[in-house]
Subunit: 415 residues, 2 copies
C-alpha cells in the first residue's frame, strides 16, 4: 500500500534536516552510487519500463509521448552519466554570498543553504526522475517526485535505485521519495503540503492552471516559452537567417524554440522572402500580419492568438513593425517571460531591447535555443523559471538554494 | 467612485514598465519631492488622520491600535526623513550580479531588475504607506497599496502627495496607487491579480491565512516571529542576562522580540534564578517546563502551545535542555523561521547551531532584536521574510528585485 503524501512529506522533512548539512563527499558518493546501480540494475528498470510501455500502447498513446516514455540501455546510460556530471559540479551549499560588519561590531553573513523539501510534478519522461533527484540531492534538498501514471513502474524502479544509493552513502533514503499514488488528488495534496518548501511543476497548461487554482506552497513556475525573435533594421541578415532557422527548426517541440518572428519594415524586403523560403523548405507553416504577407503571399493570416501561442511545432507567426519601440511593445505584449532575442548591429538598439524587454532571458545576436541550463554552463537543469520571484530563466543547483543570515556578535544588545 | 482593482493593476503594470528603467536621478527626485510635499501639506494629512481617528474612536478602537493610527507633525516629519534616507541609498537596479563567457563565445550576464508591480496589504499604521511606497519606487517597482479601512482617509491624503511627487519628477503617477475600496473582496482580488508580480502581506494570522487560502500571485510571507534564545553550557552569563532582558523587554510587541528561552541544564542553576528575577522585576510573565520551574518556582507551567506561540507581550516560555542537540531540536520544532539565537563561548556549539538551525536569521551572542533592515544596515525595511523562496530575513531594496539573463552573441546557433 502507498504511503500517504503527508507521511512522505514528514519523512522528507526529517531527511532534509540531515541532508542540509551533509558533506559534499557524502552527497557525491550517493550520486555516483546511483549511477553505478542504474547500470547494474538496468534490466530491472527496462522491465518496469516495458510494462509501462505495454500499458501505454494498449491505452492508445501517440508515438511522440510513447517515445518520451521509452527507456533504452543508451538512455539509462545517459541518466547515469547525468548523475556523475552532477557529482562533479561544485557544491553550492555553504557559499558566503555576502558579508559585512556593522558599526556596533556585528558581523553579518549571508550563507547559501538548501531550500529543504523540493516537490516536482512532471510528466511522462522517466529520465526526469533521476535528473531531478540528482540535482536536488547535490543542492542538499530532499525531493518528493510525482511523475505521471503512465511512467509509474519505471519511476518506482528508478527511485528504488536512488534510495538504495542514498542509503549506501550513509544519507537517509527518504532524501528521495516517489509519490506512487498517482491519482489527481495526490498532486493537489502535494500542492498544499506544509512540509514542501518549494514546488516546481513541469508540465503543460492544465498543470499550471491546477497549480494556480490549488497551490498554497511556494511555487516556481516553469511555464510557456513563447519565444520571439526581432530582426532589427540593422541586422546582419545572413546571420539572422541562420539564427531564425536554428531557433525555429532545430527542435521545434521544446520551450526555447522560437514561435514568432518580428521584422523591422526596412529589413522586410531583403529578409522576409529569404527567411520564408528557407523555413518553408523545412516544412514550417507560416502565418503573418498583413505587412508580412506582402513579402510572402503563401503565408496564412495570423491572429493575436497566433502571436500569443507556444506552437511547439513547425509553425511560426510573423509580424512587421515600423520601429524598435513597436518591436519592444509587441514582444512585451505577447511574451511569456521566457526568452526573447534581438538581431542587430546597432548598439543603442541592443541596449534598449535588453533593458526594456521583460523576460527571463534576453538574447542579442544568438538563437533562443541557448536558453538552457546546459548551454548556460550550469552542468544540469531542473527547469526554466518564467516567474520573477526567486529565480529567472534556466535553473540548476544554485536556484534550488536560499540563504540564511548568520550574525556573529559578542554581547550586543539593541538600544 | 473607486477605480477597480483590475484597472489599478493595469495602470500599475504600464507605469512599472517605464519605472523599470527610469534613471536613479528621476527616482530620487520623486522621493525628495514627496518628502517636501509631506512637509508642505502636513495639515492636509493631519486633517485626514483626525477624521480616521474620530471614526476609530467612535468605533471603540483600543488605545494601542489608536496610537499606531495616530499621525503627528513629528511622525509626518519622520516619514519625510525616511523618504530622504531612501533617496540617499544606492540604486539596486542595473547591478551585474554575475557574468561569464561560454566556450562558444556567448557572454552571459545576470543583471538586477525590478520585480515589476508589488502589492502590499497592511494594517493600521499610515506611515507604512509612505515607507513602502518609497522603497518600491527606489527599487523601480510600481506599488499597489492596500491599507486598512480605519486608515483610509490618511492613506488617501498620503498617496495623493506621493502621486503628485512622482508626476513632478516626470515619472508616471500610477507608480504609486492606493486600493481605496477597502472591502474584504478587494484584498482577495489583489491576491489573484495577474498584473501583480509580488505580494507582500504585512499583518497577523488572519491575513496570512487568507493569503494561503486565496493567493494565486507570488507571495513573500512576512510571518510570525517566534524568536528563541538558547543559553549554552558555556555562555557568558552576564552577557546572556543582558541579551535575554533586551530581547524580551526592549520592545515586546515586535516580531524580533524573544518569546522563548532555552537553557542548558549545566547553566540552569547559575542562570535561571538570575534571569527570572530580572525579568520578573520587569513584569515579564514566565512559564516553563518542569526542569525550569525547579529554579524559579513562581513560574507557571508551559505547554507546547506556549513554546509555539508569538506572545508579542511581556511573557516568556522557558525550557531546560540536556544537550546542544536537544536545544537545536527544540528550536527547529517550535521556530517560525524568523530569528533564533545561541549564547555561547564554545566555537563548535556556535558552528553547529548556525548550521543546523533552520531560520532566516541565526544570531550568535547578540539580541534577536537586531533582525531588522535598519540594524542590518539596509537603510530601510519593507518586511521580514519568514519563507525560504526569494528572500529570507530582513528585506529592503535588493529584495524587491529579480534578475534578467542578458546573453550577448555574434551569430551563435545551437547544434
Amino acid at each position: 500500500m502507498s504511503v500517504s503524501v503527508t507521511e512522505l512529506g514528514r519523512r522528507a522533512k526529517i531527511a532534509a534536516t540531515r541532508l542540509a548539512f551533509a558533506s559534499t563527499g557524502a552527497k557525491n558518493s550517493a550520486l555516483v552510487a546511483a549511477a553505478d546501480l542504474l547500470a547494474d540494475r538496468a534490466d530491472e528498470v527496462l522491465a518496469a519500463n516495458r510494462a509501462d510501455l505495454d500499458g501505454a500502447e494498449s491505452a492508445g498513446m501517440e508515438p511522440g509521448p510513447l517515445d518520451r516514455l521509452r527507456l533504452t540501455e543508451a538512455r539509462i546510460g545517459a541518466m547515469a552519466e547525468g548523475l556523475r556530471d552532477v557529482a562533479r559540479l561544485p557544491d553550492p551549499v555553504g557559499e558566503v554570498l555576502d558579508g559585512w560588519r556593522r558599526p556596533n561590531g556585528l558581523q553579518i553573513e549571508r550563507v547559501r543553504v538548501p531550500l529543504g523539501v523540493v516537490a516536482i510534478i512532471y510528466e511522462n519522461r522517466p529520465n526526469v526522475t533521476s535528473d531531478a533527484a540528482g540535482i536536488c540531492l547535490k543542492s542538499g534538498n530532499a525531493v518528493l517526485l510525482r511523475g505521471s501514471a503512465t511512467a509509474l513502474q519505471s519511476n518506482v524502479a528508478i527511485v528504488d535505485i536512488l534510495r538504495d544509493a542514498t542509503a549506501k552513502a550513509g544519507l537517509p533514503a527518504d532524501c528521495v521519495a516517489l509519490v506512487d499514488d498517482v491519482r489527481h488528488e495526490t498532486a493537489i495534496e502535494l500542492m498544499q503540503l506544509d512540509t514542501v518548501d518549494c514546488l516546481i511543476p513541469r508540465g503543460g497548461h492544465a498543470l499550471i492552471q491546477s497549480i494556480r487554482d490549488h497551490a498554497t506552497v511556494p511555487v516556481i513556475i516553469d511555464g510557456d516559452g513563447n519565444c520571439q525573435i526581432y530582426v532589427d533594421a540593422s541586422a546582419d541578415l545572413d546571420r539572422a537567417l541562420d539564427i531564425v532557422v536554428n531557433a525555429k527548426t532545430s527542435r521545434p517541440g521544446v520551450c526555447n524554440a522560437a514561435e514568432s518572428l518580428i521584422v523591422h519594415e526596412s529589413a522586410a524586403a531583403a529578409f522576409l522572402p529569404r527567411v520564408c523560403e528557407a523555413l518553408a523548405e523545412l516544412q514550417v507553416e507560416l502565418v503573418g500580419d498583413a505587412a508580412a504577407r506582402r513579402w510572402w503571399p503563401a503565408m496564412g493570416e495570423a491572429t493575436d492568438d497566433d502571436f500569443a501561442q507556444e506552437f511547439l511545432a513547425l509553425k511560426l507567426a510573423v509580424a512587421v513593425v515600423g520601429s524598435l519601440d513597436a518591436a519592444i511593445d509587441h514582444v512585451n505584449r505577447f511574451g511569456s517571460g521566457h526568452t526573447e532575442a534581438i538581431l542587430t548591429r546597432d548598439l543603442a538598439a541592443a541596449r534598449r531591447f535588453t533593458t526594456e524587454v521583460d523576460a527571463g532571458t534576453v538574447m542579442v545576436n544568438a538563437s533562443t535555443r541557448f536558453a538552457d541550463g546546459g548551454e548556460f554552463g550550469f552542468g544540469a537543469e531542473i527547469g526554466i523559471s518564467t516567474q520573477k520571484l526567486h529565480a529567472r530563466g534556466p535553473m540548476a543547483l544554485r536556484e534550488l538554494t536560499t540563504y540564511k543570515n548568520v550574525v556573529w556578535g559578542d554581547g550586543q544588545v539593541r538600544n
